[in-house]
Symmetry: C2
Subunit: 79 residues, 2 copies
């Protein structure tokens, strides 16, 4: 079973990396970009065959290792 | 208009960062993880109002700056 995790900084948390990308895009002539936020995308191959178990397991992984829940939010998608 | 870009290493390209995450998850007791790939997630706020124009613009951004198309693949999603 495959899972995909999206991890982004919470709204309101400064994202200097995204800001740098926005500036770079502006320098390249892409004027219509008003905001950029950069996050992480993690794809996991899981041995679990049950969707509910898999999602609970991935959420535990996010809380314990993958995301810094103080400043980051995550969404889990089971494929 | 918002756009979301998923950037992952192409299949077959070694992903040491993902491998490190897999090891760390194993050490934490998550034994059922057989593979991890880590990529980037970029969310863009665009001034463009037309979906087709926005997608073409974001694809140009990926080719020129956001993704290294030699080793990375990307998907664009207009929200």
């Amino acid at each position: 079973m495959k899972a995909r995790v999206h991890i982004m900084l919470k709204d309101g948390v400064l994202d200097p990396q995204g800001e740098a990308v926005r500036h770079a895009l502006g320098s390249l002539g892409f004027a219509g970009v008003t905001g950029v936020r950069q996050g992480k995308l993690i794809e996991l191959d899981l041995a679990a065959t049950d969707k509910t178990t898999a999602e609970a397991e991935v959420r535990a992984m996010c809380d314990r290792l993958l995301a810094n829940t103080v400043i980051e939010k995550y969404t889990v998608e089971i494929l």
